[in-house]
Amino acid sequence: MNAVFSFGAGLVFGAGLILSGMTDPGKVIGFLDVAGSWDPSLALVMAGAILVGFFAFRSAGRRGRTFLGGALHLPNRRDVDLRLLGGSAVFGIGWGLAGFCPGPALVSFASGVDQAAVFVAAMLGGMLVHRAAERLR
């Protein structure tokens, strides 16, 4: 049953990415290009998502369980460390270079966009490198 809900959530998530325009790297780079001709759309995507998300997380926090009585798996770390900031900075550089982040890249890959397929393959490669590095630690 969990898998059915997860599939539905993924479907709605992807539909939202397409409707919002975030599957267009030109639109993402248009937001990041504050010195050029700025497209503020991405800020509205975040505003719409956070507005709904805020109430969802507040409700989940108060209930302490899912609607079906299942456990909530929430991140519990609160510290801001160098790995968080450095990793996010590296992510930002890649995001700015291509205009793709993980969600839109996967959706564009499924739309048959060749460039997204190359990006996704490299992204999975980056995740594998991280995994290998963690195993050596």
Binding site: V4, G16, L32, A49, G86, S88, G94, H130, R131
Partner: protein, 142 residues
């Protein structure tokens, strides 16, 4: 700074954002999981027993979305300037960076900010700042 009015889509972007929020709410309140795409995919790269099906289902839904939207008459025409070399470098950086930074635009930017996490706020400021600097360097400095 000038606003690019020709590409600015406030209504569609806000509505699409709300859909993303609804999807995050569905995954959270029904499956008990946080909708962070890099984390969900990362958990498939390093799988744990009993923690794979919901991830595969979510990614399956994400991959099915363009089919649904095409049936509804919504077709994307992406503008992609990056060549294949840049795409490979960018993909590697995004895969590495989101793994070390424990999240991406969805996990930190949407879900983390929705739950008022200071960690996610710091991460979001970091990736947006570096994204802006990178675009500045590529578009206006070379």
């Amino acid at each position: 700074m000038t606003i690019d009015w020709s590409h600015f889509t406030p209504a569609a972007s806000f509505a699409g954002g709300a859909l993303i929020g609804i999807a995050a709410a569905m995954l959270l309140l029904l499956s008990g999981r946080v909708a962070g795409i890099s984390g969900i995919v990362g958990g498939l790269i390093a799988p744990h027993r009993g923690d794979v099906a919901w991830r595969l289902a979510f990614v399956g839904g994400l991959l099915a979305a363009p089919v649904l939207m095409a049936l509804l008459g919504e077709r994307a025409a992406p503008r992609i300037d990056a060549g294949f070399g840049t795409l490979i470098v960018a993909g590697l950086l995004v895969g590495l960076g989101t793994s070390y930074g424990s999240g991406c635009t969805s996990g930190h930017g949407v879900c983390g900010l929705s739950r008022l996490s200071l960690r996610s706020l710091a991460a979001t400021i970091a990736f947006i700042a570096l994204g802006m600097l990178t675009v500045f360097a590529v578009r206006h400095f070379s």
